[in-house]
């Protein structure tokens, strides 16, 4: 199927927390920046972003979307934190998402309905060992650049226009080693506009972000005020309209 715009990314592009206490997922879809852009420009779109996913996942699913026969005039890809990886269970072959400080076993179709997998303890051990002993900033940045290389090559080869944004800079670090895969890429990590910092305020506070309801009641643990509000999504939409369309 052909769309004018493809959006992929993590929870920021999925529109997490816009559903609010009433779990109004239709409100989420209508208020997230992909839909705001559609309303303002009349462009058709598909949004395949998922919460908690890694750049590994965003890269792979973007390519799968095209390889299934879909096409678009512009791909808008929101990279997420480089700490995250896709992990495959040795027992079941199922996908898990490793996000530093946030262990999400198996498919993240919906945070509200994640079931505990049969190999939960093994996955959790792998998760802890990975971040304790294997992961470091160089590994994260190299992983990011390898994914960036894949997308740049693919988009160039298929002549698909693209626009990249990213969630945030790693720990807001402005200096890091340009490790091995970086030399092969056209874009630079620090040059890609950051939602949290360049487009919205960096503080996770104020009107750009959703209210934090997590302290009020454990059932609102996913409404912890770290995602863009309706206004935040409008600002992201304006940035993309101004810079990419």
């Amino acid at each position: 199927m052909h769309y004018n715009l493809l959006f992929n990314g993590c929870s920021f592009t999925e529109g997490c927390e816009l559903e609010g206490k009433t779990k109004d997922f239709n409100h989420r879809i209508k208020s997230r920046y992909s839909h705001v852009i559609h309303e303002r420009t009349s462009k058709t779109y598909d949004n395949i972003a998922l919460s908690g996913v890694s750049n590994n996942h965003i890269t792979r699913t973007t390519i799968e979307w095209f390889e299934k026969g879909n096409t678009c005039d512009l791909a808008i890809i929101q990279f997420t934190m480089p700490q995250r990886i896709e992990f495959i269970s040795g027992l079941t072959g199922e996908l898990s998402l490793f996000a530093q400080f946030n262990f999400i076993p198996h498919k993240p179709n919906d945070f509200y309905t994640i079931e505990k997998p049969i190999d939960f303890d093994v996955l959790k051990k792998s998760y802890h060992e990975y971040y304790r002993h294997v992961y470091n900033l160089n590994v994260g940045i190299n992983n990011f650049y390898k994914d960036l290389f894949i997308l740049e090559q693919y988009f160039d080869k298929k002549q698909i226009p693209y626009y990249f944004i990213k969630l945030c800079d790693i720990n807001h670090i402005k200096k890091y080693n340009d490790v091995i895969w970086a030399a092969l890429c056209k874009n630079r990590y620090l040059d890609i506009p950051t939602i949290n910092g360049d487009i919205l305020t960096m503080s996770y506070q104020g009107e750009d972000y959703t209210p934090d309801y997590s302290k009020d009641d454990p059932k609102y643990k996913w409404l912890n005020g770290i995602h863009p509000s309706e206004l935040g999504h409008q600002k992201i939409a304006e940035h993309i309209i101004n810079h990419a369309l």
């Binding site: 792979r60 792998s126 060992e129 470091n136 080869k157």
Partner: protein, 249 residues
């Protein structure tokens, strides 16, 4: 620089153990399959394979070879064990390679030397944890297919003909068509369809295909696990027979 043939891979393509007890590197160079093919077909070639290479590094160094201005008529890439992994220490920007069983991180980018103790300890700590708690064969297959996709895309985009072989086929059961293997649907090759040196090209049971084990005589690196001169001759014959391109050109 332009070469007719480009070779990359791990120790099998590097010709490990052909140097023998005398450490005769020239003998190794002249008897490994890259040289045999090139000699037979009267082609120029470059071989950048290194012992202990991971598929991560084989793919990256192949692309770097082309991006630094080299060209070739045919790239012959030998994939290695899917369990190997390229890692970067928190203390250094150069990569090291993890290969299970070697028990040490391999650091060619610093000419085989350990740059500093902190760097080595960090890599060793990661190595131990990676194989004890993180690595599994499903993850290895995922990584293999991701690297395969990168290389296929790059070679196709740049119109570079290629021929792929792999070291071993002992994990082929993982690649069952019934199984959901991530990245595989986007690739043109499959793991199972790539000829394995050990098993398809060489009879693993035929010791004449492999070097003599001198490891008990004080030569730990000469453990009889790599192709002999005859083994390399057979790999060379197989590639020439199954990939007609160098002959017809």
């Amino acid at each position: 620089m332009h070469y007719n043939l480009f070779f990359n891979g791990c120790s099998y393509t590097n010709g490990s153990e052909l140097q023998g007890k005398d450490d005769d590197r020239e003998h190794r160079r002249l008897h490994r399959f890259s040289h045999l093919i090139s000699e037979k077909m009267n082609k120029t070639y470059d071989n950048i394979a290194l012992g202990g290479n991971s598929n991560d590094r084989i793919v990256r160094s192949t692309i770097e070879w082309f991006e630094s201005g080299n060209t070739c008529d045919l790239a012959i890439i030998q994939f290695t064990l899917m369990s190997r992994y390229e890692f970067i220490s928190r203390h250094a920007a150069h990569p090291v390679n993890f290969a299970p069983g070697t028990n040490i991180p391999l650091m060619w980018e610093v000419e085989g030397k350990i740059e500093n103790k902190k760097d080595y300890n960090d890599a060793k700590d990661a190595y131990d944890s990676y194989y004890k708690y993180v690595y599994n064969d499903n993850l290895g297959l995922y990584n293999f297919y991701k690297n395969l996709f990168i290389l296929e895309q790059y070679l196709e985009k740049n119109n570079i003909p290629c021929y792929f072989i792999k070291l071993a086929g002992d994990r082929a059961w993982l690649d069952s068509p019934q199984k959901n293997v991530y990245w595989r649907p986007s690739c043109k090759h499959t793991y199972s369809s790539i000829p394995a040196i050990n098993g398809t090209i060489l009879d693993s049971e035929d010791r004449s295909n492999f070097t003599i084990d001198y490891s008990k005589d004080g030569y730990p690196a000469l453990n009889g696990k790599h192709p002999s001169e005859l083994g390399h001759q057979r790999i060379s014959d197989y590639i020439i027979k199954h990939y007609a391109y160098p002959v017809q050109r």
